[in-house]
Symmetry: C2
């Protein structure tokens, strides 16, 4: 009860960190995902939809870049006491599916998935608790050919989404090479992968922050730790200066060509067998990508890419947008990474105890959409429907028939269904709907067998200062016979599109 004794009304609000998506936003995303899905399908990938809800046990603790395990998910206990949670990505559910349905699925299993994921993290500007991902993965393919295929398909998917060739770059690295480098620095023992696991996690996350913190910041995180501008202290990996230098040398090892990079990496991994295997794989991956047309203008080897996730076991990759846009204050802005992935050979083994190799990529749908929107600029808004206005309430059947006739001709159309008393409101509604045209028929026009068509786009252009000659040449309002309704509206639409 509120203070005045009346029951309090519920608040009409999305929960904190959640948002709604309207009209053109939904349509833009659906269009983009349909084009990406067509690429995935052409490459032999099949759709898979897993439920939003998984057991906490099945999801595991694989949230990227989260130092506290278990944090970051929306979870609750069901009536039997089991913990359920909303999925935080599309990879953990895939691992569950591959284990649960391993007897029926064809392996290698190529699947794509598109849908929302949920993170119980602090929301921020442009950072929401529900967002879309669009993944493609191959489970059961052990060789680097599968990784190269994912990279080549990613390039085609980005181009299908609307990113021109030359506006993106796929950067590839190898977790095995990183492990080899850490082995050389005394921080990784292939025979005892658990040892130094915490330090390696800190190293991974530190390198992943190179863009944001710069070399000095990463060096601090590799060593004793780092205090940020707010005074908060982040514990470091505890590496010696010499060890940190090895890691930073690795991060900066990108050469002028892929061959140069591989030569430097071979030096850095020294005697590590895993490291040498990683370099071999990178060479093979680049060669197979090149065989599919992905030259160094689209795919480069770059040791600065590490990906924060702990579960990668082989090649890792990121797609970066290379063009600049302007932010709302006109400052140049780079979009950076819009997709990332890699090989994770141990994720299914969590369930089965048997290794099932897997590799895949996840596209950050909202980031990619934002980049496309920024690239396209303002542009013309989405086209609204033709609005049939209501002059005589009792002739509603006639107006409904007009809209039906327009739709039958393939023209998006609707009847105004608000209170028709104020005609100005009807035209204002048509404007808000971005309607290209309004259809008007009062009783006198009905008696004369005509309809009036109003070109709303032209009307707006004229109102904003077009010349008298243009007005005369292209009247914003015409009368046509009732039988010429469709032809008349088509003429207005053609004028707009022309």
């Amino acid at each position: 009860m509120a203070k005045d004794g009346r029951p309090r009304r519920p608040r009409a609000e999305t929960p904190k960190g959640f948002r709604d998506w309207f009209g053109a936003e939904v349509a833009a995303r659906e269009g983009m995902l349909a084009r990406i899905a067509a690429v995935y399908r052409a490459w032999g990938f099949d759709p898979l939809e897993t439920p939003a809800v998984e057991t906490v046990e099945a999801l595991g603790k694989f949230l990227p870049d989260v130092d506290r395990p278990n944090a970051g998910v929306f979870a609750w206990q069901d009536e039997d006491g089991d913990w359920l949670a909303l999925r935080y990505d599309l990879t953990a559910p895939l691992a569950r599916v591959a284990a649960q349905h391993r007897a029926e699925l064809p392996f290698p299993y190529r699947r794509y998935a598109m849908g929302p994921v949920w993170r119980n993290e602090k929301p921020g500007p442009g950072r929401f608790r529900q967002f879309w991902q669009c993944d493609a993965d191959t489970v059961g393919a052990p060789t680097v050919a599968a990784d190269a295929e994912i990279c080549a398909m990613l390039a085609e998917a980005l181009e299908a989404a609307g990113i021109a060739r030359g506006d993106y770059l796929i950067r590839v690295n190898s977790r095995k090479v990183l492990n080899g480098v850490l082995e050389a620095a005394g921080l990784f023992d292939p025979a005892d992968p658990e040892r130094h696991a915490a330090e390696r996690g800190i190293v991974l996350r530190a390198i992943d922050k190179l863009d944001r913190l710069g070399e000095a910041g990463v060096r601090a995180l590799l060593g004793a730790g780092r205090r940020d501008d707010s005074g908060d202290f982040t514990a470091g990996a505890g590496l010696s200066e010499a060890q940190a230098a090895v890691v930073l040398g690795f991060v900066a090892a990108r050469g002028a060509t892929g061959a140069d990079t591989c030569a430097r990496l071979r030096d850095l991994v020294g005697g590590s067998a895993a490291g040498r295997e990683g370099v071999d794989e990178l060479e093979a991956l680049a060669a197979l990508a090149a065989a599919q047309g992905l030259g160094p203008d689209r795919l480069v080897l770059d040791p600065a890419v590490v990906r924060g996730l702990g579960y990668y076991t082989g090649p890792v990759f990121e797609a970066e947008l290379t063009f600049e846009t302007r932010d709302e204050r006109g400052r140049p802005r780079r979009f950076g990474s819009v997709a990332g992935g890699g090989r994770y050979d141990d994720l299914v083994a969590r369930f089965t105890g048997e290794r099932l190799p897997a590799t895949g990529v996840s596209i950050g749908v909202d980031r990619l959409l934002a980049a496309l929107a920024a690239r396209a600029g303002a542009g013309r808004g989405a086209e609204g429907p033709v609005v049939v206005t209501v002059m005589d309430r009792e002739r509603m059947a006639d107006y409904l028939a007009m809209a039906a006739e327009l739709r039958a001709a393939g023209i998006r159309a609707e009847v105004y269904l608000g209170n028709p008393r104020n005609f100005g409101n009807q035209l204002r509604y048509a404007d808000r709907r971005s309607a290209p045209a309004a259809v008007i028929q009062g009783s006198d026009e009905a008696a004369r067998g005509i309809v009036t068509l109003k070109d709303l786009a032209l009307g707006a252009a004229l109102a904003s200062g077009a010349s008298h000659e243009e007005w005369r040449a292209q009247p914003a309002q015409v009368e046509v016979p009732r039988s010429g309704l469709v032809a008349g509206v088509r003429a207005i639409l053609a004028r707009r599109d022309g």
Copy 2:
């Protein structure tokens, strides 16, 4: 820890009542929803996507057919102590959106929404805790023209989905007429809608079960209550026999024509003003639907339709499939209702205190898909990709190039990425993928500049007993020059489609 001291592995299982959707199932749903969305769009409806998560406060307690309020949703408390829940339908979030964004939205606001909803109810055969809905609603349109539009659009959407004209029927009733009848029976006082609310809820749910329980069962629920076969007792509405007879008379009031039905309803509502208004609206709705081509072969007035939901305030409607299919035991089966909706003028007022009229429909996506699948029968399965097999591991680049060439020609194609050692496994994989053809090139074929193409569909047909003549006329395996790869595969695909 398990008994043997090793850590227990997580179970690879969907939570109880949840399921995964694979390949063709996902594609069938996406295709159907895209066709329905195109209809909605043509009628001027815009997409809206609300988050899966809402505050419990905003969702309210509108679950249909649930006697216990608050039950039936997945809910949890966030870190601030607020209760959040997964949406159980798409109507409650729309009411929240209409209130939250009322200053920016164009009214009347026509929107469609497609997505999963969640119910924390007891799962059963074919009954899952996550399922899809596909809704269209108009908010801010007070007149019956908006209800008629929804019905006409629903008919077009069902036909777009693949239900032929004649295979469905839209049945329309009015909550106002029902209230008028209850008023006549002394169970509804328009001046005091709270009075008898519980009894009316029981009456609504009882009528809604007519199909399942028959007239005697409904009569029991209208009166003292009903004990079912299991011995469970459901409390009744406590109506006298005379009152129950009035309600049952209403339910059975459908006449040979809409005019007959309306005449009977006018008798039944007697002096109730609301009841008379309801009958007027039904007449107007049928006339407006007829003006849009929806004659009595597609839309009928039928007082037996009530819809279980308490929030309806005017016309209510259901789309029923009228064709029979056979269940797995060959028994005839009717699919019944696949969509339902109605007018709910008070739902937005929960938030704002101001009435904002609304009407809409929800399509049960999974039921409609099941009906379409049953109607289509077994049919040919979805077509898999052409599989390029791997004879020489070291020539992977060549195989990837072949697949790329096929895709560039618009042919779905993939390279086998499992262990290539056992060639039989590769062909078995191609079979499981429903591949129409396999491409084979060993080192000798490469040296001769040819590839072998295997027609897998024909091979299967031959293996299952085709004649020797057919085998000779249409060899299941051909050699073509490497440069003729695309043409050769096209010939096999054409043979299959022909």
